[in-house]
């Protein structure tokens, strides 16, 4: 991967001051290439949302730098345009506007950038993309949780952002709807080349990505690429019925012993080799 989309340099964010100061991010250095699909994981309160907010220019770092699409966010002239065009946000709670229909919600980020008729057309396209072409006139409270989240994804894509930031997009959904959203995001990454950064607690969600960044106490503690062919195969295997069966068989012990997938899969491979 050549094009560098995100680079953070010693990114630090401290909330509050003095006694009550919380070091939410502590010297984070992260580089993301264009077209990557990566997951940020870690325990609650480790600074994942904070990182995302800084990447999306919703907040300012205490120190350190954030570069997105070649721009230093601290020197950004028009933050609003950046938010509207360069990044798209998907929140844990859909945060759709309750008074607007699905279609109108998708139009919101385009207001002020596109003409009314173009907005409408683009919004329809996007709704079709997320599979909701027939629900365009529905209000958010007339949609299911998964459908709302799909509308939110469509809204995030409105201005074809280079970067999609999703903060626990499946967190409030049942596993079925969660998988739908995930498949949608993976598809977008594959077909449109959108760079996607997703914060999640869900191991299975993370496994659907190409790279997993683990955080703890405001620091990155591990960063694994899953994009070499062997790993891909292993992952496919791990997700396959056979792999599941094997894992299930020794699951508890395996997980307990090796919290990391790569090792788990290597063990799995070894076992498979053992069996021939």
């Amino acid at each position: 991967m050549t094009d560098e989309l995100i680079r953070t340099v010693n990114l630090t964010k401290i909330y509050g001051a003095g006694e009550v100061a919380v070091r939410a991010l502590d010297g984070v250095n992260l580089t993301v290439a264009a077209g990557e699909f990566l997951a940020v994981m870690g325990p609650s309160g480790c600074g994942k949302s904070t990182l995302l907010n800084l990447l999306g220019a919703l907040d300012r770092p205490t120190s350190g730098e954030v570069w997105v699409a070649g721009e230093n966010l601290a020197r950004l002239k028009n933050v609003d345009a950046f938010r509207a065009k360069t990044v798209g946000f998907v929140f844990q709670l859909h945060n759709l506007l309750p008074t607007l229909t699905a279609l109108e919600n998708v139009e919101v980020p385009m207001q002020g950038h596109l003409s009314a008729s173009k907005r409408r057309m683009r919004a329809r396209e996007l709704l079709a993309l997320v599979g909701l072409a027939d629900r365009d006139a529905a209000l958010p409270n007339q949609l299911s949780g998964g459908q709302r989240q799909r509308v939110a994804v469509a809204r995030a894509l409105a201005n074809s952002p280079a970067l999609l930031l999703a903060d626990e997009p499946t967190g409030s959904l049942d596993s079925q709807s969660g998988e739908e959203i995930l498949a949608l995001l993976a598809g977008l990454n594959r077909t449109q080349g959108t760079t996607i950064l997703i914060v999640t607690h869900d191991r299975r969600v993370a496994q659907a990505t190409q790279r997993i960044v683990r955080m703890s106490d405001g620091r990155i503690i591990s960063d694994h690429r899953l994009d070499d062919p062997l790993e891909e195969d292993l992952r496919t295997l791990a997700n396959s019925r056979l792999g599941q069966a094997i894992l299930e068989h020794n699951g508890v012990a395996l997980k307990h012993l090796c919290p990391d997938e790569r090792i788990a899969l290597q063990r799995l491979l070894e076992r498979l080799a053992d069996r021939g």
Partner: protein, 743 residues
Amino acid sequence: MILKNLWRRPMRSLLTILGIAIGVATVVSLGAMAEGMIRNYGTVVGLSNDLLVIQANALDPLFSTLDEEMALRIQAVPGVEAVDPGIYTWIATEEMPFFLIFGYPPGSAAAAHYRIVAGKPVTGPKQIALGRRAAESLKKTVDDTVRLYGVPYRIVGIYETGQGMEESGGLVTLADGQEIAQKPRKVSLFQVAVRQKSDINQVKQRIETLDKTLSVNIASEYNAAEQYAGLMQGYAWGIAAVAIIVGGLGMMNAMVMSVLERTREIGTLRALGWRRRQIVMMILGEAVMLSLIGGVVGVAIGVGLTELAASAPGVGAFMEGIYSAGLFAQGLFTAFFLGMIGGAYPAWRAANLLPVESLRYEGGSSADSARRFRLTFGGQALRNLWRRRTRTILSATGIGIGVATLVMLASMSKGIMGQLNLLAGSGSPGNITLMQKKVADLSLSTLDERMVAQIQAMPGVKSVSPFLMGFVMSADMPFFLIGGIDPNSSAMAHYRLVEGRSIARPNEILIGKTAAKNYKVGIGDTLTLYDNRYRIVGLYETGVAYEDGGCIMALREAQRLLNRPRSLSFIFVDVIDPDQVEAVRAALERRFPEAQVSLSSQFAQDTDSQKQLDAMIAVIGGLAMLVGGIVVANTMMMSIYERTREIGTLRALGWPKRRILGQVVQESLWLCLVAGAFGSCFGVITVWGMSRLPFADAIIAVSWDAQTFANAIGIALVVGLLASFYPAWRASRLQPVEALRYE
């Protein structure tokens, strides 16, 4: 808990308190002023003797006229020690819009009432003693000169009486007073001293039997403002009521919002075993708490305002407030009442929330109603208003009442102005109206009858019509105009006969159609005015409410009846060439400097009473709009609070600040536009209803024009704009991250 709940939304609580406070402040300050006015005005004639004699049926000494010679007849009554004639009138000068003039014979007991503190007493013509307050606001002192109707008076002394209104006037000799009041050989009142051993009541009765035109009052019991007291208190309450209603709506609004946004909390409390009564007590407690704070603040503001008004130069003395514990209690009670009323509905709503449902509540519109009545048109601003219909209705009603008040007052004022313009045949554009300059009230205008002949002789003048105006105000005739007119003058054409014939004899009158209807009389009947009986010979119609609700009679007879011989209220002049009207007007102005010469078409605008009326309307309307504006600001604040997450989302999606700003302003403007339209309708209905009340058609003539409505709605929009600034600014300043974390 109650205090904490209020503190959660300090801005909302503050605005609500402010709304209530303004209502209460109005009650307190207007109440104090009315009371002060009644007390002050009631004692203004400076009674130093035992009995006060004024004209029977006169509204108060200001309107009273008696023959000077009556003094001799009163003097002859057994038991009377001394009789002091006095003049009491009211003029307007540049510096002092209300300048009272007292005229008493120098050295009389009545004149001694004005205790000289600097200089010396008035002893001769063209001398004046100024009241302390008048001297202060005119910035004059002993040996300076003041001009009254152009005539210079030398200030010989400064007096004090301890009475604010008296000290805002001046004392002159009786003869000078008669000249200023244009009442030669007439007086306003007699002050009678009773002999020591005589029974005061007996003397009173003896004087009363002397002449039917006399009304005798025992000085210690007399209050000139008695007739006004009810009216004035009514006024004060009427104005205050508007402010109170609007404030109350604001309170209800705030509490409904507070209940809505705490729906989940209330559900939790219910689930934790709170009883309904406890919920009701909590919400009512908050409402009452807010309004009592508002009440205390309001009392303070009210006192401040009154003090401020009292210190205004010139008019201050007329607005000197008198506070009583009762008034403060009234203010606080009003606040308490507002709290109870404003809190009752929200408390009821809160108590009736089902725990299960309220726990599920997420904010936003409920799915059901949204599905059924979704607005399919309009931008987000309109839909946001629609989302909170109760709130929108309450706040629209708040500002709507303000608009209604404006529309109502403006149309009535326009009506009155139009009426005055039409008065006595000034319809044709060629006409010129003369009246006395700088009189405080139209009905006080006095011109010399001899002017008629002089004007007639001037070039360019076609005809001259004299007119004398008076009113009957009594229990069975609340407002009855008496017009004295020369039956042969051209103004007579203005009174279009619909039945009967014109006047031929002094005891004959024509009455207006409305009067005929109101008093159920017709041709051939008799009407009794001030104990004189008149035969009705004809019915007329002019389209002017005053006139149609009154009567006209021969000028001489009116002068006799109203006791104003040889004097006129107005003179109407017709010119030969309509193009020359301005030239004739200017010539008249030069010739008669004591007269105000106006083109009839704009006569009423020129009068001081119209200016005062306009000022009053501006104050009342301003007050109503102020409270309305606070309600709107409050609503917008609530609206942005509850949409904090939404606003955060929009910011995260790249909406610029000014877009958010625009949306909030737009929402507020829509709210005010709706309210403006609604308020205009409400105003029309109210005025229409009022004009249907019995006898009201003799006073109120309503005039609608597009201008009034445009103004009212325009003002509503300006209020909406102003009221939305702060909320909009707050909304645009929300930090996206914090707004998104907001719960």
